[in-house]
Amino acid sequence: MAAAGGEQQQMLTQRLKAAVHYTVGCLCQEVEEDKDVQFSKQSIAAISEITFRQCEIFARDLEMFARHAKRTTVTTEDVKLLARRSNSLLKYITQKSEELASSNMEQKEKKKKKSSAAKGERTPGEQEAAVTENEDSNMA
């Protein structure tokens, strides 16, 4: 049983590594076009591996930060704390987090209007959209 679990864990790790590698490939391509350079395959693989390992540090830190605040759920505050070392990075992340918060507020207001306005008059398409929105916010 334990061996099977370990194998499954390894499979998941492989899949996640592949996903990271793919995304890193896309992002490097953008940089290639931007800066007019080429990345060797090995360097892209190396960036993927670095990113994957950095995730471990990020995850442990986030968990500790959340626990330090007596929470079990990692929030945007913890992510901001992760970006504390570089001023410009912190500024960028804070700005992004504010954008996220304000777009959430908008969505909530829209939902309120939708539910308070025409309840019976919703088209099936709209209803579906509302359902997926709900699922999204439940992902937390």
């Binding site: 800066k35 350079v37 080429q38 360097s43 990692v74 992510v79 996220l100 918060a101 959430n104």
Partner: protein, 82 residues
Amino acid sequence: MEERGGGAGGFRKDTVDRLLRLHFRDGRTRVSADAQLLMAELLKVFVREAAARAARQAQAEDLNKVDIEQLEKVLPQLLLDF
């Protein structure tokens, strides 16, 4: 900048969630939806920063191909900044 989270050239929310959960020590730890999106953004910045710094290093050496050597040179400072 591009739209937040998934889509072209960025990490998907779900991928980020699984990546983080893989390393959590406590099984009860969760990540809020906003935090997932923000982490996706942070990881994107990390990757772009690594790529851009390596590219700059290559250009400083008058090369137009980035190899592991250039990446190795910028790695220590990159890890200090994150």
